[in-house]
Amino acid sequence: MIAFITRRLLLGVLTVWMISVLSFAIIQLPPGDFVDAYIANLAASGSSVTAEAADAMRQMYGLGQPVYVQYLKWITRIVTGDFGESMEWRRPVTEVIGDRIWLTLLLSFSALIVTWGLALPIGIYSAVRQYSLADYLFTLVGFLGIAIPNFLLALIIMYFAFTQLGMSVGGLFSAEYALAPWSWGRVWDLIGHLPLPALILALSGTAQLIRIMRANLLDELRRPYVVTARAKGLSERWTIIKYPVRAALNPFASNIAYLFPALVSSSVIISIVLGLPTVGPLLVKALVAKDMFLAGSIVLLLGVLTVIGTFISDLVLMWVDPRLRHQMD
């Protein structure tokens, strides 16, 4: 168990490191150093930077020195919480990102819960009532879930809500709460707006998990121990839930580690279509405007928080699944 946690932790640290290198690469990739870009950007909006200030900035970020020195300088500043300044917004990156990063995580996490909440019962039902009408129906919905990229699904749902029901389904807040400070009313408003985007985000993952769950459970249901349990007079419901379902959950569990990153990933695109106040639209805007500090920081933050989220979900799974706890001992 300790070995399992250590392994996961080390892997997490490695992932964070690779994400930081890639984020740094994203900041560095545009031609010219970013102080040049910064000055050009300021000049375009009518203000200027003195030569000394520019030199001081170059000194601060170690420009002109080898790349690894620049990387080290950059990462030490990040670790102390200084993400630099957004060129487009002229404010510290942390301030620009603000709540958005937490809303992103909240959305992805809700989608994760929806995925589990839907895939588990539907998967069990489809396996136990194999070839029933509902099974076919779920299989069809599952295939559509895999085939329709979720940003398309969001577009289609938005189109029908707009033309048929005459309502706009975008956003995470009603107009009166959009810019208001946090209050119970705002939280309640958020809870009301969250289910639809979470459901759209969850659909493709759910579709895959239903298929995995169904296939696994079908394998388990044919095992002799199920017959034995029935022969001993256990109720059908109890027989299925107590043994084969638990056995079928294993691949389900190992899949979770890749589900969360995928959800965070897709939330970026969905947010743009549905106009959600997450980091997605901010990231794309920053990238289009070549505001690289903001973009690099968002990529880094998203990556790191994803790794932490995945690690926590691993811990939860280990707590739930006794085999995971013991196989590593």
Partner: protein, 376 residues
């Protein structure tokens, strides 16, 4: 060989005998043939690639030509019969009408004017397999300015959605193919190395795969794609995007290759080949590769739709291919805002081929995966 001339027949084989002497390819084919949905999907995929090859031939108007007069024309059917029932295909022409309130000249369909449609007729010029030609499946006879065959309507700039969709099919489908080829190369190379050498190399490659799989890929793609210089040509961007997508997508293929490789290494026939003194290269390419080829093909056909979705998403956000390139994602970009979508719902037309081709590839991949193990 000339048995049929002399009345000698091939010996009639029983079902079991036929099974016993069949090659692996035959067995796979028999197994695959039983999977009806996969068979249909294979045909659908083939048709899509046919469209990709003949994109310009199927297009009716130059997909890049803009015309303010034909902005947001709703889909127009091709009428095959005249009112008197004679076969004489035509489309309705356009006429300009002054808006009584704003005095703006707007163009609408004129039902009284019939513009003839010819088959295999000359249209805009394009090059096909190095030949320059102007033959299209159908084109207008003597069109006036602004006339066109608008089966799927037009976009804001007056470009024909159908023609753009045809050309986009070619771009989106080939990006999938090129991307999968790069991923396949990386996957087979790294997966193979991992399984062949084991030890430190295996650990490093496996950890790398796990790290890549636990990263949120879309933000990374976006970041890398946005760093491509603005002044790059369409072709340069096309290949860079393909490489960016495949750099993060090879991991699944590598896992399949490694898994199969490790499983096969324990098989008796590999041991037999080793004892017979075959070299490592010969064992891998002559004995092992044919056994897991079918698995690789199945994995590829499941990886292709993911590639296509990736490109579509990137271009949809405006960070993948850039206009004047045309792909499904770029077409869908026009449908991004709910206002233009409510005004011109036909802009969503590109969603249909995206969904169809992904479904078809998924069913095809499922069928291939089942058929890949004909002895199982």
């Amino acid at each position: 060989m000339f048995g049929f001339l002399f009345g000698r027949r091939k010996p009639k084989l029983s079902q079991a005998e036929r099974f016993a002497v069949a090659t692996q390819l035959q067995l796979t084919w028999w197994r695959f043939r039983r999977h009806k949905v996969a068979m249909i999907s294979a045909v659908v995929v083939a048709l899509f690639y046919l469209v990709a090859v003949a994109a310009d031939f199927l297009a009716t108007t130059d997909p890049h030509a803009t015309d303010s007069r034909t902005s947001y024309i709703a889909p127009q059917p091709v009428h095959f019969f005249e009112a008197d029932g004679s076969f004489n295909p035509y489309v309705n022409g356009l006429k300009g009408v002054r808006d009584p309130k704003t005095f703006k000249l707007i163009y609408t369909v004129d039902p009284s004017r019939h513009v003839r449609v010819d088959f295999f007729a000359p249209g805009y010029e394009y090059s096909f397999l190095g030949l320059t030609t102007n033959t299209h499946l159908f084109a207008l006879r003597n069109p006036e300015r602004g006339d066109g065959i608008f089966i799927l309507g037009t976009d804001q700039l007056g470009r024909d959605v159908w023609s753009r969709l045809m050309v986009a099919t070619r771009v989106s489908l080939t990006i999938g193919l090129v991307g999968v080829s790069i991923s396949l190369f990386l996957g087979v190379l790294l997966g193979g190395l991992s399984a062949l050498y084991g030890g430190v190399i295996d650990t490093v490659i496996q950890r790398t795969i796990e790290v890549i799989r636990s990263m949120p890929t879309i933000p990374l793609w976006l970041g890398l794609a946005a760093a491509l210089p603005n002044d790059w040509s369409v072709t340069q961007v096309y290949f860079s995007i393909t490489i960016i997508i495949s750099l993060l997508a090879w991991t699944d293929l590598a896992r399949v290759v490694r898994g199969k490789f490790l499983a096969l290494r324990e098989e008796d026939f590999v041991m037999a080949a080793e004892l017979a003194g075959a070299s490592t290269g010969r064992i891998i390419f002559r004995h092992m590769l044919p056994s897991f080829m079918s698995h690789i093909i199945a994995a590829v056909s499941l990886a292709l739709p993911a590639m296509i979705i990736s490109e579509t998403s990137l271009s949809f956000l405006g960070l993948g291919l850039r206009p004047p390139a045309i792909s499904w994602g770029i077409l869908l970009q026009d449908a991004q805002s709910i206002q233009s979508l409510a005004l011109a719902p036909w802009l969503l037309a590109a969603a249909v081929p995206v969904i169809l081709v992904i479904l078809a590839f998924n069913f095809l991949g499922d069928g291939l995966r089942d058929a890949a193990d004909p002895y199982g």
